[in-house]
Symmetry: C2
Subunit: 194 residues, 2 copies
Amino acid sequence: VPKIVDHDQRRKELADAVLTLVARVGVNGVTVRSVAEEAGWSTGVLTHYYGSRAGLLLAALRRAAAVTRRDYQQGPLTELLEGVLPLDERRLALNRIFLFFYAEAATDEEIRREIAGYLANWRADVEAAVRHAQAHGALDAARDPREVAALLVALADAVSMHAIFDPAVMEQLRSRSPVPGWLETFGERSAVVG
Amino acid sequence: VPKIVDHDQRRKELADAVLTLVARVGVNGVTVRSVAEEAGWSTGVLTHYYGSRAGLLLAALRRAAAVTRRDYQQGPLTELLEGVLPLDERRLALNRIFLFFYAEAATDEEIRREIAGYLANWRADVEAAVRHAQAHGALDAARDPREVAALLVALADAVSMHAIFDPAVMEQLRSRSPVPGWLETFGERSAVVG
């Protein structure tokens, strides 16, 4: 053990190891032992940082939310929406971890508040991109950007989930991004958005 | 115990008792004992019919899917979509039970297939209503009815979930149905749809 430990860095590494496992084997495959093997740390270290399997999964959720927001917050609208679709294994893992906590949110008030907060952030980010696209003539400016953002976020969220449940939906999703069609529906005026 | 028992009827009653409990206290409040009290039967009878808490919840999911489809399959498009939104306590229970099994579907292949089947039925029902609305000039006939149906189902599903997570979304949903706005987005041509 080095004398100076970067605890934040180690926490991130452990959370990333959980996400890697979720991508490869699903939420069911996450145990303190399997994460320890994936991360190359002892189960004692994991327990020190996150306490239990539940703590590891929550860390992965928070990491997924932070990484997604960091990567896509500043991007154009299309990127912002495609960033959450399960178009590759990494984004599939993000979707799986969110779906797991959606169900937890139905019965756990603290998790519910946290999920509601992520969704509110997500709507705000998309709304900003919608306003930008409207200002640049790429989306119909007559529509309420708040409502358009809520609909786009709902579409991205539901289509992602349905793809997890149905291989046919997943195949269709991965063969062609649905986002351009959504934007057309909301009055896209040109092929270049954002 | 009467000599002739209508087993199907009793199974339905028990599943309805689970849904009543889910509406009142959520999925967490469902136990073999609480359902027995709600239904007015012994825990022995429940165990005979459904084996365990997991069996009771699965029965409630199937009952919810059947009741929803029976009530709304034949209706006009607006009714078909509003039928799944958590606009009252009964429909809130249906949403809660589906959300619970969405998470199960992520880790259980049998449940996943079942949920995928419900979603496919749901899309087919909505597609039929979309075709009907297009044929009667209420929706833009130039749009692919299959795609419009998939988008409408995704919107209904996601907005329902987000309402479960976020009281502000729920309040907005219950103050004004979003369905007319969705249909307008997809080229509704008149106020009367279906």
